[in-house]
């Protein structure tokens, strides 16, 4: 249940208000972020303004309550007047009205939702428990403090990070991971992330690896990202975005798990020294948790099968094979 009535106390009849009397720079009630005005521009060009603008009177002209995008288009089209209603109420009531109007017409994107919640808490001083109870459901969000803090942390990020979140449709759990990093980290991280092709789970993996490496080594994420191995991959002109992503992940895994990487490399080196034919594959125990090797053979003909068996029977004579079995760790 809302604690306050959602509608303002007074609103006037429709009237034409000159645009030069409206303060287009006052964004008190705006939640806009990277608005795409193309469709709205076509609509207004063809049909004119269908819904009136909501304004509040101020000492020198008018303040926009709802209709920022429409006024922006009208201004761009050189229109001189806009059909409007003048309303008056407390700031929080007006903001609530603007939110309702936006949510019932166009909806808000992730960053706009974050801006709206940030304004409710920090600008209009609505207490967090009330925001959780009364406003999160408006945005179709679960009513808990973790959700609110996720959006508040997004609102506090820099423009570039917000753009990235919006363009890449970053999930809430990844927003939380991004939010745990510093402003300086974001400045280096966002261009780095943008240079790869990251789905939801890849992004989570990369962010987790970066966060854990930097915390373990007590260094910044930026410094990890600036490392020569990573930079070489990012700057490599011939690699596709997917190839860059895979290679960066491999480098980060090696940094995060150096001992495991050493074991893998040592195992692969010895395996290569065996010069096995393509039909034989050797695998170590998962995570080297135990000794033992798993051998997989693949063949199409009896001849291939016999040949593989001969190769296998000779393996026990090779030092590298015995070393693989002994697994004396580096």
């Amino acid at each position: 249940m809302m604690t306050r009535p959602p509608f303002p106390e007074t609103r006037t009849a429709l009237q034409e208000i000159p645009l030069n009397r409206i303060d287009l720079t006052d964004d008190t009630f705006s939640t806009n972020f990277m608005p795409d005005l193309r469709a709205l521009r076509s609509s207004i060009t063809e049909l004119g303004l269908l819904e009136p603008i909501l304004l509040r009177e101020k000492p020198e002209g008018y303040q926009i309550v709802s209709g920022f995008r429409r006024l922006s288009v009208l201004h761009g089209l050189g229109v001189e007047e806009a059909e409007s209603r003048i309303i008056n109420a407390s700031d929080v009531k007006l903001f609530s009205t603007a939110l309702h109007e936006n949510l019932t017409t166009r909806g808000l994107n992730t960053v706009e939702t974050a801006i709206a919640l940030h304004k409710l808490v920090h600008q209009f001083k609505v207490e967090s428990p009330l925001v959780i109870r009364d406003y999160l459901p408006l945005f179709g969000l679960e009513t808990n403090v973790k959700i609110l803090s996720t959006y508040l942390s997004l609102a506090a990020m820099e423009e570039e990070s917000k753009k990235y979140v919006l363009q890449e449709e970053v999930s809430r759990s990844n927003i939380r991971k991004l939010a745990s990093l510093s402003h300086e980290d974001h400045l280096e991280l966002i261009p780095f992330l943008s240079s790869m092709k990251l789905g939801e789970s890849r992004l989570r993996e990369i962010l987790t690896l970066l966060e854990e490496i930097s915390r373990r080594d007590q260094t910044s994420v930026g410094k990890v990202v600036r490392g020569p191995e990573i930079q070489e991959i990012i700057d490599h002109a011939e690699l596709t975005l997917s190839q860059k992503t895979e290679r960066v992940k491999r480098v980060l895994m090696a940094l995060r798990y150096p001992r495991m990487n050493q074991l893998e490399e040592s195992f692969d080196k010895k395996k290569r020294q065996l010069h096995l034919p393509p039909g034989i594959a050797l695998y170590h125990h998962p995570y080297f948790e135990s000794k033992g090797i798993r051998i997989e053979i693949q063949f199409m003909t009896l001849e291939e099968y016999r040949s593989l068996l001969i190769t296998l029977s000779l393996l026990s004579e090779k030092v590298e094979f015995r070393e693989l079995l002994d697994q004396e760790w580096p």
Binding site: N144, V145, S180, E212, R215, R216, Y257, P258, R259, M260, L263, P286, Y287, F288, E289, S290, K291, W329
Partner: protein
């Protein structure tokens, strides 16, 4: 963020006591009210509703540790230690006379294990004693180890839930069992005057100073634990020590070597029943829960991978290296110390000690032989 109450006289702070009406007349309930005379008491008829209410709290784990539920427990409270699958365990038995712990360690599995966040004491202690009696009567020739340290730190709470005042004399009369009181507290003064007859082992979990400060909130500092161990050893108690969880961190070798050095400056190795070594391990959900509650914890930054039982453990070479070194430092002090590995594979036992118990029963038998030397 988790708060620290180290500067208080008790290692915990209690906001309220919720007293189940079914427990009101039990003497343990009376002892609790006497131990916390100024703490508000709320009478409870349906504890399920109370637990549900606490579970809805944004920090249910934190708030649960500040509130006591005194109730009765009607099921079995003596159980074989669950151990872990596909690893060698020690055949221990756990006494669950209470659940949850006032301390708050970042690595504590109770954070995801308990479905009741309150500090919960079970007032029908006589039923528990009967259960233990029945169990011991059925195995007269054995020598079993029972302990209270799985779901709580009972010694830390003894001032308000005087469990050891009951259990120490109870076990003093038993011929085929020993009691282990495992703790990270220094609440031992009341033990000093008790007639334990060598049937109670007081044991401490140990970690380097830095790990205790960073990862074990509201626990006693290392020096205080060692001093408490010295005091109880002086009164004839056998001691146990658990380097568990061993945390691989920058400077771990120095940290553990110093801890061992500090320990044996004060404690006689000849009266130590056992020492366990166990690398940090965790079920996957713990990383999320602990990470949210302890944003600065560094315990998950090691090279940890899923093992045969699904729990994450350090890469085997890392575990083996840690165990070998710690074992070496312990054996430098006294090669006769009885050191075992907690929840490890035969392969790790062999790599560390050069041999392995055949199975859990074999290790249990070794414990029996060890105990008979002291009794």
């Amino acid at each position: 963020m988790v708060e620290n109450y180290d500067n208080r006289s008790r290692p915990f702070q209690i906001d309220q006591i919720f007293l189940d009406v079914a427990s009101e007349k039990d003497w343990m309930a009376q002892a609790l009210l006497k131990g916390l005379p100024s703490t508000p008491v709320v009478s409870v008829r349906d504890k399920r509703l109370l637990i549900k209410e606490f579970l809805q709290h944004p920090d249910s784990l934190g708030s649960g540790k500040r509130n006591i539920l005194m109730t009765r427990f009607l099921g079995k409270r003596l159980k074989p230690c669950p151990g872990t699958s596909q690893h060698i365990c020690c055949g221990y038995h756990v006494i669950n006379a209470l659940t949850n712990c006032p301390m708050d360690c970042a690595y504590c599995v109770l954070q995801i294990y308990l479905n009741n966040p309150l500090l919960t004491f079970y007032s029908n202690l006589d039923d528990l004693l009967q259960e233990i009696d029945a169990f011991l009567s059925a195995i007269p020739g054995s020598l079993v180890r029972l302990g209270t340290g799985e779901l709580s730190d009972s010694l830390a709470l003894d001032s308000v839930f005087p469990l050891s005042r009951v259990l120490v004399p109870f076990f003093a009369e038993k011929k085929n069992a020993v009691l282990e009181l495992k703790t990270k507290s220094v609440e031992i003064d009341h033990l000093l005057s008790m007639d334990h007859r060598g049937r109670t082992i007081v044991s401490w979990s140990l970690n380097p100073r830095r790990m205790i400060e960073e990862e074990e909130v509201r626990t006693a500092p290392l020096e205080n634990r060692i001093e408490a161990a010295r005091k109880v050893q002086e009164k004839g108690y056998l001691l146990g020590f658990h380097f568990d969880p061993i945390i691989h961190h920058r400077g771990w070798e120095k940290g553990y070597e110093e801890a061992i050095h500090s320990l044996f400056e004060k404690v006689d190795p000849g009266r130590i029943a056992w020492i366990s070594l166990g690398g940090f391990r965790y079920p996957p959900p713990l990383k999320i829960t602990s990470g949210e509650r302890f944003p600065n914890t560094r315990i998950f930054l090691g090279e940890l991978f899923p093992g045969r039982d699904g729990k994450f453990r350090y890469l085997m070479p890392i575990r083996v290296e840690m165990y070998r070194k710690i074992l070496g430092w312990l054996h430098d002090v006294d090669p006769a110390l009885f050191v075992y590995l907690c929840m490890e594979s035969k392969e790790v036992w062999e790599r560390v000690l050069g041999w392995s118990p055949r199975n859990t029963a074999h290790l249990n038998q070794m414990f029996e032989e060890r105990m008979r030397r002291f009794l």
